[in-house]
């Protein structure tokens, strides 16, 4: 069964304290792995797409990496405005229609 697991469930960091969020997955035929940011009361906002093992992408203080079994979202010197829930999703399956499997997210709180 296709599955996505995110850890930790919640993370509290001091401003400037770097850390990583994990997304492990079990899917048949990974087509893409997606990271989203979700602020309270809002819809998920797209951050990154990773397609193959070894790929890395960066945006400001965020860097996403991908292996054959997991993805990491590295946060370098976070600021309070980085506080949000970070969601991971995978797109898997054969040709035709594609579905997305979401993890339950990591709630990040960055303290000033």
């Amino acid at each position: 069964e296709d599955q996505v697991t995110q850890s930790p469930e919640a993370l509290r960091l001091q401003e400037g304290e770097s850390s990583s969020l994990n997304c492990s997955y079990t899917v048949s035929g990974l087509r893409g792995l997606f990271w989203y940011r979700q602020d309270p009361g809002k819809g998920p906002e797209f951050l990154f797409t990773l397609y193959s093992a070894g790929e890395e992408k960066e945006k400001e203080r965020l860097k996403a990496t991908l292996t054959k079994k997991e993805s990491f979202l590295h946060i370098t010197a976070p600021k309070p405005e980085d506080s949000a829930t970070y969601l991971c999703a995978v797109q898997a399956g054969g040709s035709g229609t594609y579905k997305y499997i979401f993890g339950t997210g990591t709630r990040l709180k960055v303290l000033a």
Binding site: Y36, K42, G43, F46, T49, L87, Y100, F102, G103
Partner: protein, 113 residues
């Protein structure tokens, strides 16, 4: 370009009532999706559509219906609302390449009492 819009933002229903959640996208995307998000449970797929006139069930379709008469609109119908349908509902769309990004609406928070 408004992206994906959803109405209403909030709604309270009584058990047994019905309602339609509206979703519209102006990006000419082929694929559209309805998810529900419960606390600590992640996003669960209710229904999806690959184009006008074509819809299919996701993981949790019971108690819901959809239609897709135009590319832009993908309404979700709740018949005979139940407390178990209390949730936040998100609509999403994507263009439809081999692998591409879903874009989400702001959500509808529904409470069934």
């Amino acid at each position: 370009n408004a992206g994906v819009t959803q109405t209403p933002k909030f709604r309270i229903l009584k058990i047994g009532q019905s309602m339609t959640l509206q979703c519209t996208q102006d990006m000419n995307h082929n694929y559209m999706y309805w998810y529900r998000q419960d606390p600590g449970m992640g996003l669960k797929l209710i229904y999806y559509s690959v184009g006008a006139g074509i819809t299919d069930k996701g993981e949790v379709p019971n108690g819901y219906n959809v239609s897709r008469s135009t590319t832009e609109d993908f309404p979700l119908r709740l018949e005979l609302a139940a407390p178990s349908q209390t949730s936040v509902y998100f609509c999403a769309s994507r263009r439809g390449g081999t692998t591409d990004t879903q874009y989400f609406g702001p959500g509808t928070r529904l409470t069934v009492l």
